[in-house]
Symmetry: C2
Subunit: 230 residues, 2 copies
DNA sequence: GGCGTTGTGTTCGCTGGCGCACGGTGAGAC
DNA sequence: GTCTCACCGTGCGCCAGCGAACACAACGCC
């Protein structure tokens, strides 16, 4: 078996890790796949190892806003940790790749059986909530360019690659803005030599520069994660 | 002893409720009191009975945005339920009134001792998180007038009174907007006969009208609460 | 090799909210 | 009775982002 490569699982005590992995099945996340729709019961819990997932809030008929991102540092299905089956958010695969998957019943049973596991996942719930709260502030105060930069950095961290597939259209959906707005912001970043892109293939050229262009939320998110699960 | 009048405590099984109340001390929340500053360790957990508390996120040097509100339907200190001591948010008293208070150590001990309590508070964490997520979307898409209406309704629910003390300045801080913007929105609501106010004393005249003017987030929040803790 | 589809660049007029600022007025302090 | 201060009304210029639209180029399909 390949190394686990999901931080939450790796941090579990040996016994719990083994038991959980025995219940996991490896699945491949495919781009744009919807793992869970709003208001529907969660069927599986996901622990990404290479792919990553965006959590999107919808309000009225508006496009949608990303409020959280889950890569191999986290999991999708935190609502189950809190004892709730329905997802309040849409879970959308943004980075294709490998992932562990557990059925809801098995997951609940393990959670009930292991205090250590529950305790750790509680902490992750906290971290993800902090990210969500930061997203609220970010929505309110930061300009598209800064938010775009932040989003690209977060994606790059989770894709473990400086190149990934993403269109302006999709970015607009994630940021809750117009596609044209993204084009303007992205082309500025390109002119500055921070990124380059062409028909959905985007490459980060200057990570440090991008970090400088990003809003403070990026650093804040990382700090919270490091403090509680680092 | 007066009736408990905090929904979370009331919903506990008899044994747990009695034990928790034995550890509680009654305190009076005073307007504008800061119960907990960002990044500092939480000292007490609060279960409001008459007063209520706002949770405010700060980003950079910007004014602040309210991302959650806690009245007698909830509690302040959810981070402790997740095993984290530091608060990610500022907790600010917005409605003065009575409240139960428990020390952190006592609270943790009770939480560890009672599965039923932990389970219920987990659910409340979920509800509060949903509220936070809604706040993010609300920030992004809704106009000041609609958000103001929502905020007034939420306050009224928690104040159990159609009259309360609130200035435009403070509302601006809560909504993360300019004071002048609040004045414009509030005076429109007044012209429509939905509210009346004068030098910090505000009265709701037409609750139904206000609900019609508010964004969908208000109804959504209530629905989530009712579904999970109703 | 033609054709529809998808991704990107750009324009135009509009508007909500911003920063800043000034003025008025009620209420309490002395 | 005056003074001060908190609270509220309003105005002005500005700008980010919006909605709607059009143009063009690259790619995939037949």
């Amino acid at each position: 078996m390949a190394p686990v490569q999901n931080r939450l699982i790796e941090r579990l005590p040996h016994r719990e890790r083994t038991r959980l992995l025995a219940l996991c099945e490896p699945v491949q996340l495919t781009l744009s796949e919807v793992l869970c729709e709003v208001g529907t019961p969660t069927r599986h819990v996901y622990f990404p190892t290479a792919g990553f997932i965006c959590l999107v809030k919808h309000v009225d008929a508006h496009p949608g806003v990303e409020v959280g991102m889950v890569g191999r540092e986290g999991m999708f299905g935190t609502q189950l940790v809190l004892g709730v089956v329905n997802s309040p958010l849409r879970a959308l695969v943004q980075g294709p790749g490998a992932c562990w998957r557990v059925g809801v019943a098995d997951f609940k049973a393990e959670l009930a059986a292991s205090v250590a596991m529950k305790r750790q996942l509680d902490r992750y719930v906290y971290v993800l909530t902090a990210q969500t709260v930061a997203a609220a502030g970010c929505q309110r105060f930061h300009l598209i360019g800064a938010r775009l930069s932040r989003w690209l950095l977060m994606s790059q961290d989770r894709a473990h690659d400086d190149h990934f597939h993403i269109t302006h259209e999709f970015l607009a959906y994630m940021l809750g803005v117009r596609r044209a707005g993204v084009t303007v912001a992205a082309s500025r970043l390109q002119r500055l030599g921070l990124i380059t892109y062409h028909r959905g293939e985007l490459t980060v050229l200057d990570r440090a520069g991008l970090a400088a262009a990003a809003c403070s939320c990026y650093a804040a998110d990382r700090a919270v994660y490091a403090e509680h699960l680092g």
